[in-house]
Amino acid sequence: MCGIVGLFLKDPKLEPRLGEMLTDMLITMTDRGPDSAGIAIYSGAKDGLGKITVQSAQPEVDFKNLDADLHDAIGQPVAMLVKSTHAVLEVPMGQLDAARSALVHLRPNVKLMSVGDSIEIFKEVGLPKDVARRFDVAKMEGTHGIGHTRMATESAVTTMGAHPFSTGPDQCLVHNGSLSNHNGLRRELIRKGMTFETQNDTEVAAAYVSQKLKEGEDLGTALESGLEDLDGFFTFVVGTKNGFGVVRDPIACKPAVMAETDQYVAFGSEYRALVNLPGIENARVWEPEPATVYFWER
């Protein structure tokens, strides 16, 4: 069992409240996943700047002078915002790859959470309320976001085993369920050049979608392909820079509820997660159909 929440805002007036609404939804899903929690927030791109979110078990050591060290390595100014065990590094768009490679040498113990011009991912072991407080998620603004509360079944309870998983620029995926053919798929994806941080099944699904997007498929088509190639139980919610997608396996055991108003599209593992959203009383609320891809793009 796991909990998933997601919000895709249509009304820019709600953007300052994205973090606050997602935090409330996430905490409501605590009893579906008290092991760990995570959130991906898309806060919009700043002109010419990209973002790298990193995590460290020893932030006081790893993040000390990291901005200056990275500046020296890539020859461009770097802005750093430390939030607990995570740091968001802002670098010029053209230097994202150089900064990533430099990070591996500068701070070998640091883990990469996400890369892109809009996405930031924060995830840790612990109760959703503690994780949300640690990163001050309630204060975050953005256009869309996805959260996950994990009850681990398939691999260890670690920071890197928490969701969301990000395996491509501005991409993320969260999962409720378990996959049965992830080992074979992982080997295929490794042959195609993907790299993996964990033994987790969800990371394979994330990498699968990233690979399809890299091959030129749009999000909807990539998720359609996933229905053919991924075997197991899944409700996935996927984020891209401009989009938000949902797909359930054909058996559809893992719960899912969606709500749509003029202001937003919302996803919850249960209706409970949606009850405090503005205008929910008059929202169109429905259960996504099995083996059917839903996605919204702006």
Binding site: A252, P255, V275, V285, E287, P290
Partner: protein, 229 residues
């Protein structure tokens, strides 16, 4: 009318108040406000009372119901009226997975759509769905009746025993050992009665329905196959 604010007083207080109604009671009308998708609302009631839930519910609302009439003025989460024994559960909106699962008696009315596995392993309950039902509905259903005014999803009635299924719209596919059967007079009468009790008699007529039931090849032991065991 007893009004109960679930947001203030909590689920455990609600259900213990309702469980205490066994036997004689004058408190026959109940209203639950602020359900907010909570789990197990009014589960395990065993008294001839009328309970109205003003909003949508989470898992297992009205589970194991005996005697009570429970109305949900919203949509219901997974497992609504699971293992109902008697009484009635009436949902104004949609019902999630396995509505009425394993139900042994009583009437479940869903005025919207029901999703997958509606009536799975039912054992005597009657279910009336004004909209559609999802895939694998009535899987291994043993007895009771299901009336669907809309369409049915894939694998309807897979491994069916003796439950009767009446569908007005299309059936995406029939499950193993489920076949269409002739509508006889007693079936028209049965559907007419269920449409009336299911508050659907103005929406559909018995002659618009087709009947599906068990071919009885799967669950009967066939002596010719003895060598295979």
């Amino acid at each position: 009318m007893q009004s109960f604010d679930l947001g203030k007083e909590g689920l455990r207080a609600l259900n213990s108040s309702l469980h205490a109604l066994r036997g004689q009671t004058n408190m026959t009308a109940w209203e639950v406000i602020n359900p907010k998708g909570a789990h197990a609302i009014a589960a395990g009631v065993d008294a001839p009372v009328d309970i109205t839930v003003r909003g949508s519910t989470g898992y297992y609302c009205a589970g194991m119901n005996k005697q009570a009439t429970i109305r949900i003025k919203g949509s219901a989460g997974p497992g609504v009226a699971e293992n109902m024994m008697s009484g009635a559960v009436i949902i104004d909106g949609d019902a999630s997975q396995y509505a009425g699962a394993t139900g042994r008696g009583g009437l479940l009315v869903i005025k919207g759509n029901a999703s997958s596995r509606c009536g799975i392993s039912m054992k005597g309950i009657d279910i009336v769905v004004h909209g559609n039902i999802g895939h694998m509905s009535c899987f291994m259903a043993q007895s009771g009746n299901v009336v669907v005014l809309g369409n049915a999803g894939e694998s309807l009635g897979d491994s069916l025993y003796e439950a009767r299924i009446f569908v007005r719209g299309t059936v995406k596919s029939l499950g193993a050992d489920c076949i269409e059967k002739e509508m006889r007079d007693e079936h028209f009468a049965l559907v007419e009665d269920l449409l009336r009790r299911g508050e659907a008699d103005t929406k559909a007529k018995p002659e618009e329905f087709r009947r599906y039931g068990s071919a009885r090849k799967l669950y009967n032991f066939n002596i010719d196959n003895a060598a295979a065991y």
